[in-house]
Symmetry: C2
Subunit: 249 residues, 2 copies
């Protein structure tokens, strides 16, 4: 199986064989985190960067009411705390949703890699900024769209992101998340998540069985959700600068 980090980054910008080898070398020493366990805690000052190789995780904050608010889903190939190298202190936590394989990369290794290989540096920054773009889109979605569109939008996004790391085939993917967690993500109650899901199923936009999502008609769902994958910064990215050079397919 391919390295999810390499798969993700080379969708965004061209990498040489050496770049890829360098990234792959990062992921040598993996450790396993059980499901529902903190990968980083709010307020921590990490010395390493944590990279998810396998499994699902999420960023969250705990509200003073005790409610958990989920701000992002982390998939294989995603960094938990790349920004920690700059900001120092985590302003939120990351928790595994399934058992996860995680790699710890010391900040020094990251810095060295960025110095030695500018293109990899750009790739890491791309990864961080792509996360930010997702946040902006979520903010818009939460503010302006109905709960049903929000949920549809989330499914559209996960379909694309999972495809990038080879975890979605035939528009079918595992979504190992409870309805309660979906509610904490979209800011709606668990009960309402349930009703909305049923409605989406009733309309034939989504099929669900045993935590597996099947999207029979991607175009229809994306239209309903007003989903436009531009914000994921895939198709035609930084490449602009590279077209002047040789395009390494």
């Amino acid at each position: 199986m391919r390295n999810p980090l390499v798969m993700k980054l080379e969708r965004a910008l061209p990498l040489t064989l050496e770049d890829r080898a360098c990234l792959a070398a990062l992921t040598a020493k993996q450790r396993v985190v059980p499901a529902r366990e903190d990968i980083i805690r709010d307020g921590e000052r990490p010395q390493d960067v944590r990279l998810i190789i396998e499994g699902f995780a999420c960023r969250y904050k705990l509200m003073s009411s005790g409610r958990r608010s989920i701000m992002a889903y982390l998939l294989p190939g995603d960094f938990c705390d790349l920004h920690g190298a700059i900001l120092g202190r985590m302003d939120h936590g990351v928790i595994s949703l399934t058992p996860c394989s995680v790699v710890d990369v010391p900040h020094t290794t990251i810095y060295e890699m960025m110095d030695a290989r500018p293109q990899l540096g750009r790739a890491l920054w791309w990864s961080m900024l792509a996360d930010e773009a997702i946040l902006r889109e979520w903010l818009v979605t939460m503010g302006q769209r109905s709960a049903e569109q929000q949920l549809a939008h989330l499914l559209c996004e996960l379909r694309v992101r999972l495809s990038m790391v080879g975890m979605c085939r035939d528009n079918t993917f595992k979504l190992p998340v409870t309805q309660e967690e979906l509610g904490h993500t979209l800011g709606i109650s668990t009960v309402h998540v349930n009703r909305v899901l049923q409605h989406l199923r009733g309309n034939g936009l989504v099929r669900l069985l045993d935590k597996t999502v099947l999207i029979p008609n991607v175009v229809a769902l994306e239209k309903f959700a007003e989903f436009d994958s531009d914000y994921l910064n895939l198709g035609n990215p930084v490449r602009q600068a590279e077209t002047l050079l040789s395009e390494s397919a």
Copy 2:
């Protein structure tokens, strides 16, 4: 008057006199953008980085319904499209809310500066990541809190951010924004913004006159909004790495 970019960044991490001079030099050639004019448009591929020196602006996306959704407020010292250097293509627009003084900095200048002055490089990345942290907090706020708390939270944030650039004295600041725009920001209707504002005024949490906000009791408002300024990454930032070196006060 001091340079707002310097004021902002040196609140986050220590800068030498040369660093400051270097930042100040960036802001030599300012141009003025009238109110309600696009500073960057969605989809553009900027070759420069735009920096706000004076005035208010906002990031926004237009929905297919034609509604405008505001995702961020940009104050003096904030960059419009620092991420554009990496991502290439804007996935949202930036529009001025008041007349603005703007500086255009070529990407090459940014790169050179980051190479020559690592600390300034870190400062710029800090600025980008701090924006991301604000997005996360907004996402939580929009998802989990009542409209009244959302609005209160926004005012708390603006008070702190404006203080950083010397635009808030005695907990009083200009907020040159219509109620419609506040609605587009929080994802609530204009009518409801109005009612919520009146309620905040009725409770004595906020005083409003002629687009000027006065917060009589900051502690009370922050408590009501569940505002915790940690996410703005001020107090105790990257410094951690610097304490090993000389602490340039």
